[in-house]
Structure formats: structure tokens, C-alpha cells
Symmetry: C2
Subunit: 320 residues, 2 copies
Amino acid sequence: MSPALPYLTLSSEEICALHETGAQTVALQAPEGLKRHLFRVTKQLRAEGFSVCISGDPCYGACDLCMETKAMADVLLHFGHAPVDDTPGVIYHFAPASPDPAGVKNALPLLEDTTVGLVTTVQHVHLLEEVKGVLAENGINAVVCDGSERTPLHGQVLGCSFEAARKTGAREILFFGTGVFHPIGVALTTGARVIACDPYTGRCEVADGDALLRRRFVQIEKARAAESVGILLSLKSGQKREELAYELAALSENAVVITMQEITPDALLNLGFDAYVNTACPRLAYDDQVRFPVPVLSPQEFEIVCGKRTWDDYAIDEIL
Amino acid sequence: MSPALPYLTLSSEEICALHETGAQTVALQAPEGLKRHLFRVTKQLRAEGFSVCISGDPCYGACDLCMETKAMADVLLHFGHAPVDDTPGVIYHFAPASPDPAGVKNALPLLEDTTVGLVTTVQHVHLLEEVKGVLAENGINAVVCDGSERTPLHGQVLGCSFEAARKTGAREILFFGTGVFHPIGVALTTGARVIACDPYTGRCEVADGDALLRRRFVQIEKARAAESVGILLSLKSGQKREELAYELAALSENAVVITMQEITPDALLNLGFDAYVNTACPRLAYDDQVRFPVPVLSPQEFEIVCGKRTWDDYAIDEIL
């Protein structure tokens, strides 16, 4: 599909592809910011003879497929993300965003190398060739790589998978996208100097992984005193690391596995544990600690608490 | 089990019953207010040789069994509720509360009849015989009845099932328990005069169903202008009324079925529909309207909007 099409309207090619599956009932799923387009899509699909149902629960990624709703339909049409796995019966509609690729010029003054790795998130992947061109015009050679199976698009990173950055082998990496976590994740997993370039605001900065590490070390120290530790096991389709959760629970007699669909501050407060270990979306521990009532550690951080890993081997959690 | 046992500690009879099932792994589930006891129960079960995992998601009743977590264990130990269905592999621990049954004396000045129906919620059901005795000493004949299959305890009502009240056939019904919804529900489903007696505060009052009805009528009128209507279909074990949801969706071309695990104000806001119809826990529409951004109607209320039901046939939604 083309990024020039109206936002969250299905193209005739997509409608044809749906008809070709033989589907009669289509389930729709989208992240929060796109949900309000789903009734328009519903009407478009009904006009084409399909029955429709919508998944209304929060959706944070393609790791969060509404499997129960999918089971009520012939096919799941999932908006806004690229696949993280090969779950059958799912069709993805990427909903690309289109900021100006020339915005990458703002990053030029911060670059120290003439060769940089280049990565972004799903909604900007289609712009990477143009971004690369702008950089080339300015004497910068940008290296774009394929990532893991979880990040199928060329140059794509996820909050749980930075393989496309790692594979560039570059000493300097440019992240073209929004937010602070992805560039910090790239920095901590690759050891490279990372420049984050926000294509909407034009703001560029060197990602500071140290500040995150200092905050994490405080949480690790706090968690050492915990007499009860909940090992959080997500029930989401692409976040359910059951084996890891039970391995971690076996590290301490104070630990027990706790399954959760949505990991929320209220839920953790009500459970009343002294600390938690997050085996779901890695970003939960890193981004949302300030919202949680007690330390929420990554698997690697809990291994440090249990003496199974040293500080020097600190690593960012990834789902590869 | 006896109400005299410490709160949320398993009795030796319960441990024996668990051993007799042959279970090795036990999943634990409890409503929010009881969740913080689950780690103590975990340690008790581990000392008996069981493996344990905990369901951390919100739990509002026995209609809300954690089926996916249950599938990871041999048996589900569900705290705080009586069964609403015959799902196999679930053991219920009632967690009774024990206010003073003599508190019912506070209701005596409000009673107009010498025969009253008597109902309560699950945590006080074990007190009904004593309450009945106190009433008898004061010249009042209390009638206690069995309800529906969904309310297996003698004299028990749920927010979605008032059959035990209806069956008393009484013109006056005494609700011994907390909160305002259950007595109002009893009043609106039976047409009886209902006295609510809170055994903790001693406060007694005549349940006022009219105020609820007036508020609901406002929402019905607001919903008439809706150009998009989401028919909410719960994914919870005992709240999933799929046939009803699709029947309601068929009443209007502006309606579509939306599946949800948790129906929250944020989720409804993000979906952006003009109105919703709730086929999940009936109390969501009646109790929580003030939290929702747009009208959330009951199935019967939506039928009024669609002209399939008249105002005179207004009825409280029940899951019988």
C-alpha cells in the first residue's frame, strides 16, 4: 500500500487480498491512537460484503494480537505494526507516517563519523532510502541492515529488538524517529554513539544511556531487600516468555510466577509484592518504573540480584 | 471451611481436597482486595509440595475466571466468590466476612410488613440463618430462597442475578449487605419495596430505584443521536454473551460488535464511538456511567432506542 492513501482506509489491493483469503468475517485491531478510524474501516468492509468485529482492548504492538477475537473471525486485520512472528491468519496494514526525510539534516552537526548506521521504527521505515539519500548528499554514508525475524522491515528496530542496529557494526548510529527509549536501547545494546533525530520536532541529541543505567541500578539495589518477588509473565501472543519466567522464579524461594494480560500500576499495587521482574515487553521496566509502586526489574537485573550475573555483564533485555 | 479460620489461609480440609484432585500445579486467583494474601497462600501450598502460579489480572467475580492461567495449572483455586457456572477444574474458597447479624435490628423501624424476603451477597450468605433468627425474635418472618444456577448459595444475589429475591414473592425484601446497586437491582427486578441494611455501618434505607431510572432515561435519550454504536462483548468466562451481542448489533447499521477483556473509560474514549451497549457485567452500565465519556446502555435500553422495546417494558439486565 502507498503512504499517500488516506490514513486507515483500505486500498482496493487490500480489499482484493481480503476477498482472496475467502474470509467472510474480519476482526480489526489497532493501537490506541488509530482505534477511532476502525468504524470507518468497518463500514468500508461491510460495503464489500464482509462481516466485522473490532477488538477494543489496548494494543501495543504486533506482539499483542487479539487471539480470542481472531478466533471469532476468519482473518485478523491488524493496523499500525509489522509482524513480529508468523501467526497465521493475520494481515498487517502498516499505517506509515510521513514526516519530511530532509529533517535528518538537523542531525548533521552532531555526527562525528562519515559512516553511520541508520535505524528507525516501523512507521518511518519507508522513508529510510530518502533519509539515506539526504545523508549521502551531505557526505555521510548510511548503513541500513535487516534485523531479526521479529523486525522484518529493512532498518527496523523495536523496543525489544535492536538487531538491525547491531548488524550495522557502526561506531555511530543514527536513529530517525521519536521518543527516547529506542535510541537509548540502541546505545546500550550496541555500545555505539547514538544520535536521535526526531523528524517532527527537528530536535536531535546524543542518546544518554548512562542516566537510564543509574536509575536501573537504584532499582536493583532496592530490590535486594524484597521478601516477595512477582515474576510477571505476559499472556500476550508475542510477549509470553513462559520458560524464562519459570527459570527466573527458580532463582529465589521468594519468587513466584504471576500471569498478567495488562501490567498496570494498580494491579501491581494490589498484588502487594515487594518487587517484580518483568518478562513481558522489556520497555515496561525501563520506561514505566516511575509509575510503579515498587522496583520492576528486567530478567538480567534480577539475575544480578540473585548473584547469577555481575554488574559488568549488565545487558538490556531483548526478545530476539 | 469455617469463617473463624484466618482470612485466606487454606484449611487442612482444603489442602486434602487439593491433594485428592491429583493436582501438582495450582493457579491462584482472587479479587483485588484479597490479592495481597496470595503470596502467603503460595508459601502454604509450596510447603505441601504444590507448584504455584498466580493470576495478576483484575478479577471481579466468578464470571471472570483466568482461563489462560488455569490452562497452565492442574487446578484453579479461586478466592472470594461462589461459582456462577460449572467450569471444571475450579475450586472455590469463599472468604466469608463476619459482621454482627444482630445489626439487622437497625432495619426494623423501616419494615412495614411482618413477612419479608431476605437476600444478601456471597460473603454474608453464611449469616442468613442468624439474621433470620434475629428477625423472628422481633416478630418478622423472613423468607430465604434459592436463586438461579448462577447464584448457588441459599439467599444469594449477584449484580447480574436477582432470582433469589424474585422467588421470595414478598412485597417487601430486606437486603443484608453493602453498597447501593444490589438493593436497587432487587427493587427494579421484583417491584418490591426493598430495605437495604448495611451490617458494618448500621445504616438502613429504602432502596430508591427511581433515581437510577431517571439517570438511565437521560442516557437513552442521549444515545438516540449516536451515529456509531459499539456493542461491547466481554471476553470474560462468565460474561461472554456472544449471541446477544450479535443480535443487538443487527438492530442498527450504526452498530458493530467490539470485544473487550476489560471495559475501561480510557478504552471507550480511544475507540471514539458515540455510544456503547454493554453485554458484559450488567453493573458496568448502571454503576459506572459517570466514569464513561458517552452513554453506555444496557441491552434492554438499546432495544428502546431501536424501537424494539417500549419504555413501559424497561427491565434491568440480568444474566440468568
